[in-house]
């Protein structure tokens, strides 16, 4: 009773402390991104404060950079195919984890989720060794296989989580009505996990588009966009990278919005 006032006061104090903490964290996360964007429009080659003037030159330069354009094309190719392949393997894998019981299931689960925590470099060099041993030339296709393997865990966790939340009665009803496993998957399960698949697919696409550690070891002569940017960075910091970066930030933002809408659509 006597504690009421100090309790309220300390609650107010705690709220203020929490708010300032959140504000600092947001500043830590977002000021750097604004810095990146600001310097992409700055008319000086060096990235030093204060900003000297506005220009679109760095963006204009991107258009005439044919290596960059080729790298972007390669990245789209790799990310699209890697997403398709990882979904084709990951969705069945999630179904297996959800539906079947078999000896070694926990090993299977661990292995398939391993690449989430396993640094990409291990996936990269182990697959590099295998391709070299088999005399398989490195190319964008070997990169696709590497990405699909590295991203499997992402797809499996997302789809599996959704499958776990589906009431089993749905499929049982389909079976009772005489549907084959295949039919019941297509007509019952798939529509219910569709938004999870779309979400996982979008995330895989972004992660593959952006991937370096696996690509670093598995690519042949062709560069993907992040590999191209990386090799430019080795030579130093330039506003052109900021311009590419700003475009990437913008595209990521659009994709996030798409993902939010796509995964929300289910609960009408």
């Amino acid at each position: 009773m006597a504690q009421k006032t100090p309790g309220l006061l300390s609650r107010f104090g705690a709220d203020t402390a929490f708010m300032s903490f959140v504000a600092i964290l947001m500043a830590f996360l977002y000021i750097p991104i604004w810095v990146l964007i600001a310097f992409s429009f700055n008319d000086s080659r060096s990235l030093t404060w204060p900003l000297s003037g506005f220009t679109l030159d760095w963006y204009r330069k991107l258009w005439s950079n044919s290596d960059l354009i080729a790298a972007i094309g390669n990245s789209f190719y790799v990310a699209t195919l890697a997403t398709v392949v990882t979904l084709a393997v990951g969705v069945p894998a999630a179904m297996v984890l959800h539906k079947f019981d078999f000896p070694g299931k926990s090993v299977f689960r661990r292995l398939i989720l391993l690449p989430i925590t396993l640094p990409g470099i291990v996936t990269g060099i182990s697959m590099l060794n295998m391709f070299k041993l088999m005399g398989f030339p490195l190319s964008l296709e070997t990169v696709i296989l590497g990405h699909a393997t590295a991203l499997l865990g992402v797809v499996v966790t997302q789809v599996y989580a959704r499958l776990q939340r589906l009431p089993p009665s749905l499929e049982e009803a389909a079976f009772d009505l005489g549907a084959s496993p295949w039919r019941s998957f297509i007509d019952i399960t798939l529509p219910n996990i569709r938004s999870a698949i779309i979400g996982a697919g979008l995330l895989s696409f972004v992660l593959s588009f952006d991937e370096i550690p696996v690509t670093f070891f598995l690519t042949g002569r062709d560069n993907t966009l992040p590999m191209y940017i990386y090799s430019t960075m080795r030579r130093g910091v330039t506003p052109e990278i900021n311009a590419v970066g700003t475009i990437i930030v913008l595209l990521s933002l659009i994709l996030i919005v798409v993902a939010v809408i796509a995964t929300r659509e289910r609960k009408k």
């Binding site: 297996v96 470099i121 060099i125 599996y160 910091v237 990437i248 930030v249 996030i256």
Partner: protein
């Protein structure tokens, strides 16, 4: 025929992922295990069965130092991420009364995951560099007179950059774990006369430990295997294990040693994952 038709779908469903794992995970891991026992012999390497590569890794001070440095950096990154992520997640779950604000703040922390990882490392290089944004900013304010090399190319820069990159992986599991704690538990402990600190220490924190364990596992393992951020902001004594591995497969051309290093990394990651699995199961708040 009809047997095949009935069972073909489930055989495919089982078969595709199993084959993939066998071909693209087990086989490659098997190959690097094999390579790790081979010998480097100019100009390439020859099959052998000896533990020389592992002996080198654990006795040559050069590798021991890199190994310890990597451990130190990964622990610091996990700790820093934890100190930032826990109060944030706690605020979202227990203190933030507006659902919209909670959703937005959560999204704001997760969203950077969708923005190129490479860019996030690069940004810090441009900010912390000698000719960088922070230095020139501090100079324009008159706080320092000449550019300081204090910020870039050291372990501090590496910890800041990796924390910046991996913090979403700490927020997500802690948030999920906190969200699962029924509010009536903390209410009950308050009714029993426990102060907010006591009920935090005895109720909330222990119940959220599985999430903390998952967060530490992710941030630790990801920093442990990173070679891009060290390369961009780490400087000469900022090499981590992954950089050394990359060198063995590049300039140094010592695949057996590189494979052995990769195996050591694989074992460290597996150990940490199974430890945290055990912790999560002990926590019994459920899990994936």
């Amino acid at each position: 025929m009809s047997f095949l038709r009935r069972n073909l779908p489930s055989m495919l469903v089982m078969g595709i992922p199993l084959m993939w794992i066998a071909l693209f995970m087990l086989l490659p891991y098997g190959i690097i295990v094999t390579y790790s026992f081979w010998l480097k012999k100019y100009p390439t390497f020859i099959p052998a069965f000896q533990f020389g590569n592992y002996v080198t890794i654990f006795t040559d001070p050069q590798y021991v130092r890199v190994f310890l440095r990597t451990l130190k950096i990964s622990v610091l990154v996990s700790a820093a991420s934890f100190l930032l992520a826990y109060p944030f997640a706690y605020y979202l779950v227990f203190r933030c009364r507006s659902v919209a604000l909670r959703t937005w703040l959560y999204m704001a922390v997760i969203a950077p995951l969708w923005v190129s990882y490479l860019l996030r490392a690069y940004i810090w290089k441009t900010i912390l560099g000698t000719e960088g944004v922070l230095n020139s900013f501090l100079m324009s304010l008159g706080i320092i007179d000449e550019p300081s090399s204090l910020f870039l190319y050291n372990q501090f820069a590496m910890v800041v950059t990796l924390t910046y990159i991996f913090i979403p992986f700490m927020v997500m599991p802690i948030y999920t774990a906190l969200e699962k704690i029924p509010t009536n538990l903390t209410e009950a402990s308050a009714d029993l006369g426990m102060g907010p600190w006591r009920s935090f220490w005895t109720v909330t924190l222990p119940l959220s430990l599985p999430g903390v364990a998952a967060g530490f596992t992710l941030t630790f393992c990801l920093s442990f295997g990173d070679f891009i951020a060290p390369f961009l902001v780490g400087g000469p004594d900022g090499n981590l294990i992954a950089n050394v591995i990359a060198t063995q497969f590049g300039a140094a051309l010592n695949w057996p040693l590189g494979s052995a290093l990769a195996i050591v990394m694989l074992v460290v990651v597996l150990t940490i994952v199974s430890l945290s699995d055990r912790m999560e199961r002990k926590g019994m708040t459920g899990g994936v």
